[in-house]
């Protein structure tokens, strides 16, 4: 059995706004969500920019939701809101089918930890585990210490009474892409009729940002202010962290046709690969990235000639961007120069484990609308990044028959999704 897999619903909460329209308009208009940012608890944190969700606006929009009072991590709130949008967008007739054939796959990263939880252990004699054990009821109920990282996936399933498979993926920056890819595969092989897939993450907390900072991942550049996220530019200096959630409804052709669902695009392939190189750096020639793209093309039965656009991982780090460029050259050969490549992270920042979800949505809409978002802040070409990255600040109108969406996780855990125009 091999079912075609359609995208029939979209939802997103990002720094560009609280829905998919804000995301897509923002990307196409070259609007940046990156702004001055400082974590709570420190006065002079070296990382000074991030792409946060507008928390006040988010609270106003969702504090009346019945789930608002449920303890959960910040990222789960973004993910649950995005899932509500996506399911509503797909049409509630989606839920009229056999609930055992509707599942969820979500990618998210390391738990959000509240360091003040540990202060509960302190007494006049210093920290004491037994004191902390006795005070477990006082732990922050919204922290990752007491909420498993599969919580969001199960919350989404319970919210919509979905009783099919519920999976959680944990492959850092490729987590959401893996969730989307495996959801796609489950529908294609006939295991389920539809999957709610995507990711949510928020690393904009002090412990996680310290961890990223110590690894040298985020940019601490001062020179460019809020334009410091410069994928493929000569002066790129590191990622800019972000937060948010994005969710897609994937559905079998049969299910979509039966209920007359609107189809955005078709997911046609998925590929993944490991760099097998180094825990802290991508393979310098993009070996795993190239393998993931090749596998996605093979899975989709597409050739390099068929691809018009690549939504790049494009982190704005010194190592990723040239490696990804080499990988694209290796896979696409002579075709590489004519492919429109863009990095949404130049505007959205890096949503870490969730990154693949809004970027897959942007890929789906690029295919549907024939518009490729720009790579913002690319003003000084780098000789090691010599492809067409759609520089500028507005989307390029062009036919997009098929596209790839790249997500490369820390430690060389790579994924790629192939999207094709629905005909």
């Amino acid at each position: 059995m091999s079912e075609r897999v359609f995208v029939t619903g979209l939802g997103a909460v990002t720094g560009l706004g609280l829905d998919v329209a804000a995301l897509w308009q923002g990307l196409c208009q070259g609007r940046s969500a990156i702004r001055r940012w400082q974590p709570e608890g420190v006065s002079d944190f070296p990382v000074r920019y991030a792409a946060p969700v507008d928390w006040n606006a988010f609270q106003c929009a969702y504090r009346s939701a019945f789930w608002w009072q449920t303890p959960m991590e910040r990222r789960s709130r973004f993910g649950l809101a995005a899932a509500e949008q996506a399911v509503n967008d797909a049409g509630l007739t989606l839920l009229a089918g056999d609930e055992r054939r509707l599942g969820v796959a979500i990618g998210s990263g390391a738990p959000e930890r509240d360091p003040s939880d540990l202060l509960l252990a302190l007494g006049s004699d210093g920290p004491d585990w037994q004191r902390l054990y006795r005070r477990f009821a006082e732990l922050n109920p919204n922290s990752g210490l007491v909420n498993g990282n599969d919580q969001l996936a199960t919350l989404i399933a319970r919210r919509f009474d979905l009783a099919g498979p519920v999976l959680h993926f944990s492959t850092p920056c490729a987590g959401a892409a893996h969730a989307i890819g495996h959801g796609f595969r489950m529908i294609r092989r006939g295991e389920v009729d539809a999957m709610v897939v995507g990711g949510a993450d928020s690393v904009l907390n002090l412990p996680t940002m310290i961890g990223l900072l110590l690894l040298g991942a985020p940019s601490i550049a001062e020179k460019y202010g809020d334009t410091l996220c410069r994928p493929f530019d000569r002066d790129r200096s590191g990622l800019v962290a972000a937060e948010g959630g994005a969710v897609l409804v994937l559905e079998s052709e049969r299910s979509a046709l039966e209920r007359g669902a609107r189809v955005y695009a078709e997911i046609v392939g998925f590929g993944s690969a490991m760099d097998a190189y180094c825990i802290t750096a991508p393979h310098p020639e993009g070996r795993g990235a190239a393998l993931a793209m090749q596998r996605a093309l093979r899975d989709a039965q597409l050739t390099p000639d068929d691809i018009d656009h690549i939504n790049a991982h494009g982190t704005s780090t010194p190592l990723n961007d040239p490696a990804e460029t080499l990988a694209i050259r290796q896979v696409f050969g002579d075709c590489a120069g004519r492919i429109a490549i863009s990095s949404n992270k130049s505007m959205l920042g890096h949503l870490i484990a969730a990154a693949g979800a809004p970027e897959c949505i942007a890929t789906v809409l690029a295919v549907r609308d024939g518009r490729v978002p720009p790579t913002l802040n690319l003003s000084q070409p780098d000789e090691t990044c010599d492809l067409d990255y759609v520089p500028g600040s507005s989307a390029r109108a062009m036919p997009v028959r098929a596209a790839l969406c790249n997500s490369f996780g820390f430690g060389g855990l790579n994924a790629c999704i192939a999207v094709q125009r629905h005909a």
Partner: protein, 385 residues
């Protein structure tokens, strides 16, 4: 019944294990004959009695795998255990069938990394300093340089890939008991669907950490509490392995409603058996993890009773004997079932402890229940080659 033919020909081989009870299957079998009692837990006494004991595995030495000490120090114990078990399985790849590195995929079930944030030493230091420095500044100063690596559970996958030099497809599932069996299912499917020639499938428990009582204690019904245990296990799925054991069927779902839990679990068992083309009478052994809530326990008990209401099937609650071990529980069950189907003997929960007996039937049923309701059922079968 319609047997799922496309799973035919994918063999499960080279199971490995690394746990408190032993570092090979012979020792683990011995520990089922003569159970190893849990030791006092490596943390102060807490109010959750079962959490005051634990089965601690030794800390694996990685030098023989070519991992230098400096790199090993950036790994959490659970990552070191996972790497050890993964390499042990991979070492058993048929030398006459050398695999291209990009033909070996990796499918893991991993728990999150539980570690005090800030470290306990940093907290002690802050207290000794009289709490003068602002808390956030202290946290910044005292966070270990590689915490971003070690706190990321998927680092284990990256370490395995780099150490073993494998660049096939991958997936990492997290964080509970369902994760190990999801890794098994999707690893086998990756071979069946032509993504890779071999899938290295592994799962590991959370390392023993003083934070575990805070996470497990309140979440588990007191009557269902068992001490935690450290377990890592792995195996290979391959078309070319000579093993007669294969994944014959599976089913997975969220059992969200306690009210219809029995029906839901029974349906999953029926689906998995149907996919496997097997009847309940083919099942020689049932292995499952420890349920989390009373409702789950009831649903499991009743669903298994429906499977055979004349004489109960031989059953092993894996976590009762190896400890609560998260993602590792399902794959440990798979490893034990592999041993049983290969050797023709099993261990059954008798009135006075475990009883070794002859395996009747050519299949084993594995069930994993996660605290939030995910349930995965797998049928492993033995066939004549």
């Amino acid at each position: 019944m319609t047997e799922c033919l496309w799973l035919n020909g994918i063999r499960l081989a080279a199971p490995s294990v690394f746990c408190a009870q032993g570092e090979d299957w012979q020792r683990v079998r011995g520990a089922l004959d003569t159970p190893v009692a849990p030791a006092p837990a490596p943390w102060p006494t807490c109010d959750f009695p079962a959490m005051n004991q634990a089965w601690a595995a030794p800390d694996p030495a990685l030098a023989s795998l070519g991992v230098d000490r400096e790199l090993a120090r950036t790994m959490e114990k659970q990552a070191r255990m996972m790497l050890t078990a993964a390499c042990a399985s991979l070492a058993q790849l048929d030398p006459d069938d050398p695999a291209e590195s990009d033909e070996v995929g990796l499918y893991l079930g991993l728990p999150t990394v539980d570690e005090a944030v800030p470290t306990w030493a940093a907290l002690q230091g802050w207290h000794a300093d009289g709490g003068r420095a602002p808390w956030g500044e202290w946290l910044m100063r005292e966070t270990p340089p590689f915490s971003g690596l070690s706190m990321l559970n998927s680092s284990a996958a990256a370490h395995i890939a780099a150490t073993a030099g494998i660049s096939g497809p991958l997936a990492v599932y997290s964080p509970q008991a369902d994760a190990g069996l999801n890794a098994l299912i999707d690893g086998v499917l990756a071979v069946a669907e032509g993504e890779c020639a071999h899938a290295l499938i592994g799962a590991v428990s959370p390392k023993l950490d003083p934070l575990l009582p805070l996470q497990y204690g309140p979440a588990i019904a007191p009557s269902l509490a068992v001490p935690p245990g450290e377990v890592a296990t792995a195996l290979l799925a391959s078309r070319t392995a000579s093993s007669p054991i294969r994944l014959a069927g599976y089913a997975r779902a969220l059992v969200a409603s306690a009210g219809r839990g029995t029906e839901a679990v029974a349906e999953l068992i029926a689906q998995a058996l149907s996919m496997a083309g097997r009847a309940a009478t083919d099942i020689g052994w049932v292995l499952h993890n420890q349920p989390w809530q009373e409702g789950q326990a009831t649903a499991l008990r009743q669903a298994l009773a429906r499977l055979n209401d004349v004489s109960p099937l031989p059953t092993l609650n894996v976590e009762r004997h190896f400890g609560r071990c998260g993602p590792a529980s399902g794959l440990l069950a798979a490893g034990l079932a592999h041993e049983a189907l290969s050797r023709g003997e099993l261990w059954h929960e008798g009135e006075h402890g475990l009883v070794r007996q002859v395996l009747h039937g050519n299949a084993a049923l594995l069930i994993a229940l996660a605290p939030l309701g995910q349930c995965v059922v797998v049928v492993l079968g033995r066939e004549v080659l």
